[in-house]
């Protein structure tokens, strides 16, 4: 163990266990951060560095030419880039809000009220978890079509709200919420909805913060719903626009590689911002106080 004099007369204790811990952490971080580094540096790579094989992780001569390429290539299309961004923002935010409300309410009542058929519904949720969405893609299209929602925001939003995984996640958290608190609130005369809004939701902040992050990311990156339910250019969202820029799923067109890298970079920024903003909440300790044995 080494002791180093720290500022303000404090001692900094360095043990070998600590050094080993940080070494392991740094190795893991180096591994995991690589895709991000690659993504950022690719966005700033000039043409000749983009096609080096094997791909280099660090850019040697950074330029912003990819971003101006992106603007130029999008300027020629009929729909401005901002329209895609706007669609993405509207759709994603609505889904996130609704899915948090619906799953939290549903999970809360499944756990605490035990409505008739609740067990069946829970088994159904488990089943839905395992079912690959790819198999039901065409039937889902038929449903959306018969509702007359094709080419509307509704088609992008509605099918993604009642997601089995979200309610499952909320349920796992709510199971740990003590019944005594609910009883106390009922005795004090609080209505059910008020209990939910003022007691359960604040206590479950880590749960729904997790849900917000996960559902934001997966819906922001959702490529399939706009692909299936939307045909008009004006309703498309960013992931689909990214495909259009890079020149289709099959062939990555050489000329657009730089613009694609820049667009990919732009697309990732909001998710990183959301997560950084929410991560303090996600990690917050659940509030169990209020019960004394």
């Amino acid at each position: 163990m080494i002791k180093i004099k720290w500022f303000r007369g404090q001692w900094l204790h360095i043990t070998f266990a600590k050094i080993a811990l940080y070494a392991v952490m740094l190795c893991l971080v180096a591994f995991t951060a690589l895709p991000l580094i690659y993504l950022v540096s690719t966005a700033f790579k000039p043409m000749d560095e983009l096609f080096v094989y094997p791909p280099a992780f660090f850019v040697k001569h950074p330029t912003t030419v990819n971003f101006s390429d992106l603007v130029v290539s999008l300027g020629s299309s009929t729909v401005p880039f901002l329209r895609y961004a706007f669609n993405s923002v509207v759709v994603t935010l609505t889904i996130v809000f609704l899915t948090v409300v619906v799953s939290a309410l549903g999970a809360y009542s499944l756990v605490k009220f035990k409505p008739p058929g609740g067990n069946f519904l829970f088994n159904l949720i488990l089943m839905a978890l395992m079912f690959s969405p790819h198999v039901t893609r065409i039937p889902s299209y038929l449903v959306v079509n018969s509702l007359g929602l094709i080419n509307t925001y509704g088609a992008l939003i509605l099918p993604n709200i009642a997601v089995a995984y979200n309610i499952f996640l909320m349920k796992q958290f709510i199971e740990q919420y003590p019944d005594e608190l609910l009883e106390a609130a009922r005795i004090d005369g609080a209505g059910e909805f008020r209990i939910f809004i003022q007691m359960v939701m604040p206590a479950l902040k880590p749960a729904w913060a997790t849900l917000v992050v996960m559902s934001f990311v997966s819906n922001w990156n959702d490529y399939f719903s706009p692909l299936i339910y939307v045909t008009s250019q004006a309703m498309k969202t960013l992931p689909l626009a990214l495909q259009t820029i890079s020149g289709g799923a099959a062939a990555v067109s050489v000329g657009r590689a730089g613009a694609t890298a820049a667009a990919t970079f732009c697309m990732t920024v909001p998710t990183v911002i959301i997560f950084t903003a929410m991560q303090g909440q996600v990690m917050e300790t659940m509030v169990y106080s209020g019960i004394k044995e």
């Binding site: 893991l28 978890l129 198999v135 039901t136 009642a162 199971e175 990156n221 890079s246 990555v252 990183v272």
Partner: protein, 333 residues
């Protein structure tokens, strides 16, 4: 003296029957409230899960007779038989998928639990570490990551065979077989690490919800770190563990990069054979369901929900979690 037997007071006159008809007992009332709360979810599930799933089941059992109204003529198990007996690629793709999962599944769970516990410790820059471990998930479940993998990033991360990391002499000493194996293992490790952002996050929130009092009590009782891990940490995060086990399983089975799904996708949808695609989807679903059911069945016995349930399940003295003895009521004298 004879005790005066108090005659019970006559019961209050019952309310008129008309009023009583609408009076539900507390239990039913609670259940109704529950139903109201859960109804938006039920509607969503009915519309976008139950109906499509039944249609897909009918598709798999028959053939489309008219594409306009999606009219299906039921013909029996032809499509299923075709998948197993006629189709050349179905069974090998299936086995390949199982092999991949067997390698990656335990690795993901163990690695993410270890990382979550490392980040949960009292270390500098915790927030930064959390963000970094979660970033691969943020980069996109599908599109962005797919592009990176297409460019061969996972192989370029740790290229042991090109002589930059390890000198050529060492490589030639070990021979190509061993070096290839090492390369493969490193490649798997990298992809596993990139795919475990959610798992780490879930484990972390589970770890955070454990009351420090439990650890304190265990330490005072003289438990070692190893015992604390198995007797406090693991039971307390068991709901999150189950969630993680299922999430990882389902995620690896329903990921777009899964070879089985790629096969169903290309065969069923791009070739326009919806019935065959649906049948393969159902076989696949049955398999995934079986695996998840096994995981669920095994884990159910080891789940710790809360104190009350635990006592109900195991009896007053048998439940595994450490309990803090109730203090005798303090008297103020």
């Amino acid at each position: 003296m004879a005790k005066k037997v108090e005659t019970p007071k006559p019961a209050k006159p019952s309310k008129p029957a008309k009023e009583k008809k609408f009076k539900l007992d507390l239990h039913t009332k609670d259940q109704l409230k529950g139903l109201v709360f859960v109804s938006p979810f039920i509607i969503g599930v009915l519309m976008f899960f139950i109906y499509p799933i039944t249609l897909s089941l009918r598709l798999s059992l028959g053939e489309i007779s008219s594409i306009v109204g999606m009219k299906v003529k039921i013909t029996g198990f032809d499509n299923y038989i075709r998948a197993f007996l006629v189709d050349v690629n179905f069974v090998p793709t299936f086995l390949e998928m199982i092999r991949q999962t067997l390698v990656k599944y335990p690795l993901t769970i163990v690695l993410s639990l270890i990382i979550a516990m490392l980040i949960n410790r009292d270390i500098a820059c915790r927030g930064l570490f959390r963000v970094i471990f979660f970033i691969p998930f943020l980069l996109g479940v599908g599109e962005v990551m797919q592009q990176l993998l297409n460019q061969g990033v996972d192989k370029a991360v740790l290229n042991v065979t090109d002589g930059t990391l390890i000198p050529y002499n060492v490589i030639s000493y070990f021979g190509t077989t061993i070096m290839d194996a090492v390369q493969t293992i490193l490649g798997i490790l990298v992809t596993v690490l990139w795919g475990s952002g959610v798992q780490i996050l879930l484990f972390l929130s589970g770890l955070q919800s454990i009351s420090p009092a439990l650890y304190e009590a265990a330490r005072i009782d003289g438990a070692t770190e190893w015992e604390i891990f198995w007797k406090v940490t693991v039971p307390m995060i068991s709901p999150m563990l189950l969630l993680n086990l299922i999430y990882t399983l389902v995620d690896s089975f329903t990921n777009i990069t899964n070879p089985m799904l790629e096969y169903i996708q290309s065969n069923g949808f791009q070739n326009g054979e919806f019935e065959f695609g649906a049948a393969m989807g159902w076989i696949y679903f049955a398999f995934v369901g079986l695996v998840v059911a096994i995981v669920f069945g095994v884990m159910k016995n080891y789940m710790h929900t809360n104190e009350v349930e635990e006592v109900k399940k195991h009896g007053e003295h048998k439940h595994r979690i450490l309990t803090i003895e109730k203090k005798p009521k303090r008297t103020f004298d």
